[in-house]
């Protein structure tokens, strides 16, 4: 009984914090999503107008599709790069000192702010930017490439740059826990390097891949600032829809969009968790 009580007591601080700063705001958002709005105020109500508009608008569907598109492309790229980097660190670099040193090198860009890392691409990719000037001076192109900046290419490039580390870290972490004798056993049993990778390493790395995936997918789906800056405001994702609504004081509509986005992301994560048991990892 007392042990039980102590257990509750130990869990209480975190529970209270989560209740106050996670659960309560979400409940508030759900409530507000049913409210009404005039041009400059919101009033308590219980109406489905916000949701009706959301599901009735072709643009909203398009924007949700664009959000999934960004998430999917970025996921594939960050996974490929992240897995390769982690594999190199975990299995090719032999000494622990070098592993740690190289891992830290990976994190160096993250000592600056997200926004700065993103914006620094703009002068690089611009019409008269370094990339175009270099390509022209090499004679590869005659005209500056317009699609380098303010395009989906730029958005995805920035996303991959910003979020690959979130893939590297958990995958590297799981790979480091793989017992190297398993790899030796695979080789002894006659497996080729590729077979070892597919049949031993990837299955054992799945929890790490899944954690990285959750990071990347939630970050990309919830983003609005990267899309705004890198597309020059010309593309939209759900985050921008919400931020536009907030800018125009349409809080209930923003809340409804946020609720739908939250549900979508939770469903995506729910589906992913059906495939991999990440509890093994934690």
């Amino acid at each position: 009984m007392t042990r039980n009580f102590i257990g509750w007591l130990q869990a209480a601080p975190l529970a209270l914090i989560l209740l106050g700063f996670l659960v309560a705001p979400i409940i508030m958002i759900v409530i507000v999503s049913f409210w009404g709005a005039t041009e400059y105020s919101i009033y308590p109500d219980f109406q489905f107008d916000n949701y009706a508009f959301l599901f009735g608008s072709k643009v909203v569907w398009k924007v949700f599709f664009a959000t999934f598109k960004y998430a999917a492309i970025v996921w594939v790229l960050t996974l490929t790069i992240g897995f390769t980097v982690a594999y190199f660190l975990a299995f090719h670099v032999r000494s622990l000192t070098w592993q740690i040193a190289l891992f830290l090198v990976c994190t160096i860009p993250f000592w600056t702010s997200n926004i700065i890392r993103m914006i620094s691409w703009i002068p690089f990719l611009g019409r008269n930017g370094i990339a175009n000037q270099t390509l022209i001076s090499w004679g590869v192109i005659d005209q500056p490439l317009e699609w380098l900046l303010y395009s989906d290419f730029a958005v995805i490039l920035a996303f991959v740059h910003l979020y690959t580390l979130f893939m590297v870290v958990p995958i590297f972490n799981t790979m480091m826990r793989i017992d190297h004798s398993l790899l030796e056993a695979a080789r002894d049993a006659g497996a080729s390097g590729f077979q070892t990778l597919v049949n031993v390493i990837i299955p054992l790395t799945k929890p790490g891949i899944m954690i990285g995936t959750i990071f990347v997918v939630t970050l990309v789906m919830g983003d609005f600032i990267t899309v705004r800056f890198m597309s020059g405001s010309q593309s939209a994702n759900v985050g921008r829809l919400i931020s536009n609504d907030i800018g125009l004081l349409q809080y209930p509509s923003a809340a409804a969009t946020a609720v739908v986005l939250l549900c979508t992301v939770l469903i995506v994560i729910g589906i992913m968790l059906r495939f991999v048991n990440i509890r093994k990892e934690l």
Partner: protein, 421 residues
């Protein structure tokens, strides 16, 4: 309260009052107490300048706290948080939205010393007696109410003003003459395929829609009844034209902040775009040629003013009137005019500008020496003239005022669709 009868302003006014001041101890008390007064002003970044607050402290003795917000937040705050401010520095179209909430109080024009010198645009809508009144939310249409408690706007000078006008300008397109290399004369050029991938428009719906309307009208595609108050059909037609242009790759980017517009222009990503006057100044001060191009269809204009919170009373209210009188007395006007804006009482600003500055900024004359910004950057050398010319030439050719439409919410949704298209 009784000591408040001797307001500092009244005393400064005349010699008789000055004699009274030396005889009575009250002004001293006022001088002491005024130091404790803090007026909280909020508004858009345009005129919420720290230099103004510093100068107020110096000249008037009380403290002015400035908060700068974007226009959406300004509207919201004025409408929903009347206790959070004493003075609202808002645009006239915002006033149209906010006044019905009753959060602002009308001002007695007889307490405004320079009221008679305020330019006609803000009083009867006419710059000169022959001027025609432009479309949109023209300042004088929301400038007056019937009395202290009036909630609906009056159509003549009633003596009770909603906002005391402070700052205004005529906006047009900014261009890079060095990259375009030919004269630009019409708003239609924004959608000219020649500038495919090199044009931009601002992503602020209430202003962007006006620029769009100027373009569509200039193209002859749409005849608007009132650009400042479009019908749903007019809104749809406008967005149809711009969505098509967007999908054809006409626009390089859309900008939302001042800095973005400067960077787009300075880097050469964009050669023609909607722009604000100080942004042109910022590009020029980097040594890059940039022109605020006058166009034959006229300007899109905007104006702002100071409104008093309904909660102001007593000593604070007197201080607020004193601040407004000080605002119109010239120093701020000179400061703003050196950035390319106009003051509501231009003649008082003249004393705070050099003859060269006054000639360049207001009269459209050739500069006789270097023209510098308030921060010291050289904006024009001797012999250059201001884009668009004199005050009368620029403000006399206003085609429409920034406005808020009856169909605003519909327009905003369409705007969101345009961005996502």
């Amino acid at each position: 309260m009784s000591k408040m009868r001797y307001s500092r302003r009244a005393i400064l006014k005349g010699g008789a009052a000055a004699a009274a001041a030396s005889a009575l101890p009250a002004p001293m008390i006022w001088a002491q107490e005024i130091k404790d007064i803090t007026l909280r002003q909020f508004g858009t970044g345009v005129s919420n300048l720290n230099d103004v607050a510093t100068k107020v402290k110096e000249d008037l003795g009380f403290t002015l706290e400035m908060t700068a917000l974007d226009s959406d937040s300004v509207t919201q705050r004025a409408a929903t948080q009347p206790d959070s401010f004493d003075i609202a520095d808002i645009e006239y179209w915002i006033c149209k939205k906010v006044w019905p909430t009753g959060n602002l109080q009308a001002m007695d024009t007889s307490k405004i010393a320079n009221y008679d010198k305020i330019v006609g645009i803000f009083r009867n809508g006419k710059l000169t007696p022959e001027s025609t009144i432009a479309q949109g939310t023209a300042p004088h249409t929301v400038g007056f109410v019937d009395g202290p408690g009036g909630t609906s706007f009056a159509d003549n000078e009633t003596g009770w003003m909603t906002l005391i006008p402070t700052i205004y300008n005529a906006d047009t397109l900014g261009i890079r003459p060095d990259l375009i290399g030919r004269p630009i004369e019409s708003w239609t050029e924004l959608l000219n395929p020649e500038f495919k991938g090199k044009a931009s428009i601002l992503d602020i719906s209430s202003i962007g829609i006006m620029d769009m309307a100027m373009v569509c009208e200039a193209m002859g595609e749409i005849q608007y009844g009132d650009k400042g108050n479009m019908t749903k059909e007019e809104i749809d037609a406008t967005f149809a034209i711009f969505t098509e242009a967007k999908q054809n790759g006409q626009f390089r980017a859309f900008w939302k902040t001042f800095d973005e517009s400067v960077n787009l222009m300075a880097s050469g990503e964009v050669v023609i775009q909607s722009m604000w006057s100080p942004a042109i100044t910022a590009v020029k001060s980097r040594g890059i040629p940039c022109v605020y191009q006058p166009l034959k269809e006229g300007y899109r204009s905007w104006g702002g003013g100071l409104g008093l919170s309904a909660n102001l009373s007593g000593m604070e209210l007197d201080a607020a009137y004193e601040y407004i009188n000080w605002y119109l007395s010239g120093w701020v006007g000179g400061y703003l005019m050196r950035q390319g804006y106009y003051s509501a009482v231009p003649e008082t600003s003249k004393d705070y500008m050099s003859e060269n500055e006054w000639g360049y900024w207001f009269e459209g004359k050739e500069a006789t020496g270097d023209i510098t910004s308030p921060t010291g950057d050289v904006l024009a050398a001797a012999g250059e003239t201001r884009d668009g010319g004199s005050f009368e030439e620029r403000m006399g050719r206003v085609a429409c005022w920034n406005a808020v439409m009856d169909e605003n919410q519909y327009m905003v949704r369409k705007w969101n669709e345009f961005i996502a298209a």
